[in-house]
Amino acid sequence: MTRPRIPYVQSDASQQVPPPYHFPGVTVNAFYWEVSMERVQAYCDRYLNIGDEASRDYVYRPVPTFPYASVLFLDYPTMISAIPDGSMHGAVPYPERGAISQTEVFVAMPVMRYGKGGVKLITDSAVEWALPFIVVGNPMSSVCGREMLGLGKLLADIGNGEGRYPDSFLGTVKLPGWRDEKPGTMQETLDFLRIETKPPLPTHAGTQPRERTFATLLDTREALWGLGNLANMANYVDKASLSLIPTSMRTVGLKQYRDALDPARAVYQALVTCRALYSDVRDVCFYNPLDVDMSFYDVGSFHEMLKVFLEVGDEPTGLPHSINAIAACRFVADIDYDQLRVIREFPIDRDGMPPTPGSSDMIARWLRPLKGFFAPRKGAA
């Protein structure tokens, strides 16, 4: 039993631009810190390991060899739709309409999907990135990400520029939120995140003892030159940067919609994966992590979010929560955002009817060419 194809009405009022996209010249500032495996597992269990464990044929777990979370500031000077002209039904093709620009900030944690059972362990296992927090500065992007891609994009005021020192970095995120949970407290735009660095290595502006960080390994022009050249060979960037710079970042998210009358009830739930392919990685540089000043604001309604990836207490402190970065870098890359796929559509309970059929398509990407890239999703039992 398969679900019939339901046509979508393209609204005159909608400015959504569906994927795939091409983003040339994206500047990425990335910061890494150690994250508790328990917190990553709790995230996996809540948002990815959906349904009864006995009948589920996969399980998401943290990646033990990469126990780090990262926050990335991305500055997209140009975002171009890469939709083929033929899919526009006579309307002005999206690539002909123009381009938008935006800033984006997200927290990423690597997770490993294991297929259950001998064969599925080989065919259905994959490393993906969960994005528990993502904000953008462009409203069209936030709507598209939320409604289509299963990314919980919020709209934020994002500062993304130079700090006090030349060539340093200062990034800020301000979000609408509530300072406390008292009834009647009015929503405000509040500080959520602030990161400031000194200039990239090698630099004499740093005040921290560089000997205490592995960044000193890169503290010579020769080492940086070597890394920069390696970085141009995109396939080797993962290894050259100790996995700090991704070349192909495949995200996984829970795309779900509520019932209109009963918001506690879901009417659609699916795991969606997308690929962000980084190419022509260039201008790679590293910050001394001991010179990175990074704080999330543990205030009011933001506390719920911070609990996902930070060691915060049970109640908000109302203060900045400082994080020790273990690595930090900056690079420029071209990014292609494509290969969007529902890998698991969950059955949905219905009143007076059997649950919706659901479907599964968890084949690991190395095996996908053999299985047929555009093959329909398998119906789930």
């Binding site: 938008i100 929503q187 919609y257 019932d259």
Partner: protein
């Protein structure tokens, strides 16, 4: 029951909603019946792939809609939390008109005609409201910068609306903040007697009677207070795109909600000639305007003085052509309002 998995990014402003002390200006505009019917056929009457057991039809005779500007000073969620939680302020601008919804029986008979309201588009300046309106109510709402300046009297009003978008489609064009809408009420605008106004515009009679019956323009007044009616039913097409096939929906349904006003006060009617309504024509929104108000004009003159060059801290482009839209009547009032989801009338693709 399949449980929705709550997260930081999805749990704001769950319905029902309450607005205390909202201020509303409704601009009554004539709209061609064929445009309304075309919208209904596309969004509500078309098979997808099954047909909903309803038929939506434009009202007979001259049709009017309301371009509503609502300033919510204290807006909150009433869902499962302490009262007053998730309180915020926001301003919305939306276009709405009444239509008839018939139930279609298995014998293909049209029965149980009811008047419901349709909202083809809306703008809001609060992202949390926009997300909730889009994702739960199914409202086609866009984020906007909205300047609303009230004068010393209720008749003085100036509204400017801008969105992020592309002014003129071209491969080299860049998205930026573009002015889309301006509304102004002249300083001389004073309240008028509704009866006299309807005598002058007989086509408006049925429309206003419908509003009065719905309880917005409450007919009764007790002890100086206007009494509340049962409110209006709003129907929306709630749909979400598939991640792989952009022409397909992962979910599509018709949703019914109800808006009720209470404690209605300070209601004033103005002649439409007191208001100037200008639609600007950037390509990003030209289709929206054209689908409801006709082809964009070529006039380059705004009659409302210089537009704001900067809104919400961003430079705003007001260089696109202007269409001047005739307003038949203006109503302003203050009230408290409640917005309830009534339910999902039909979910498409259920097997």
């Amino acid at each position: 029951m399949t449980a929705f998995v709550e997260s930081f990014s999805t749990n704001q402003l769950l319905p029902p909603w309450r607005s205390e002390g909202l201020r509303n200006w409704s601009f009554v505009i004539a709209v061609e019946t064929s445009r309304i019917q075309r919208h209904l056929d596309r969004y509500f009457n078309a098979p997808a792939p099954d047909r909903a057991p309803f038929l939506y039809a434009a009202l007979p005779g001259p049709n009017y809609g309301l371009l509503c500007v609502a300033k919510h000073k204290r807006f909150s969620s009433l869902y499962g939390r302490p009262e007053g939680d998730n309180t915020l302020t926001h301003t919305e601008i939306y276009w709405t008109f009444p239509v008839t919804r018939y139930q279609v029986t298995p014998d293909n008979l049209l029965v149980d005609a009811v008047t419901v309201w349709i909202q083809p588009f809306a703008f809001d300046n609060n992202s949390y409201v926009m997300f909730s309106a889009r994702e739960i109510w199914g409202t086609e709402m866009e984020m906007a910068a909205i300047n609303l300046i009230e004068g010393a009297t209720p008749g003085e009003l100036m509204i400017d609306l801008a969105i992020e978008g592309i002014a003129r489609f071209s491969p080299k064009a860049r998205s930026h903040q573009i002015g889309c809408l301006r509304i102004g009420m002249t300083q001389e605008a004073t309240g008028i007697a509704l009866a006299g106004m309807l005598d002058d515009h007989p086509g408006l009679q049925d429309f206003v009677t419908n509003l009065i019956g719905a309880g917005i323009f409450t007919a009764g007044m007790e002890d100086g207070e206007l009494t509340a009616g049962e409110g209006i039913e709003v129907n929306t097409l709630r749909q979400f795109r598939d991640v792989f096939d952009l022409d397909a929906a992962a979910y599509r349904a018709i949703v019914s909600s109800r808006t009720t006003h209470s404690n209605v006060r300070e209601m004033t009617f103005y002649a439409g000639s007191n208001a100037k309504l200008e639609l600007f024509g950037p390509h990003a929104i030209a289709e929206t305007w054209a689908s409801m108000f006709g082809l964009p004009g070529i006039d380059r003159t705004t009659l409302l003085g210089p537009p704001p060059p900067v809104m919400d801290g961003e430079e705003t482009d007001w260089s696109t052509p202007v269409t001047h839209v005739e307003v038949a009547l203006v109503v302003s009032y203050s009230a408290d309002a409640r917005f309830d989801l009534a339910g999902t009338l039909h979910t498409y693709g259920q097997i």
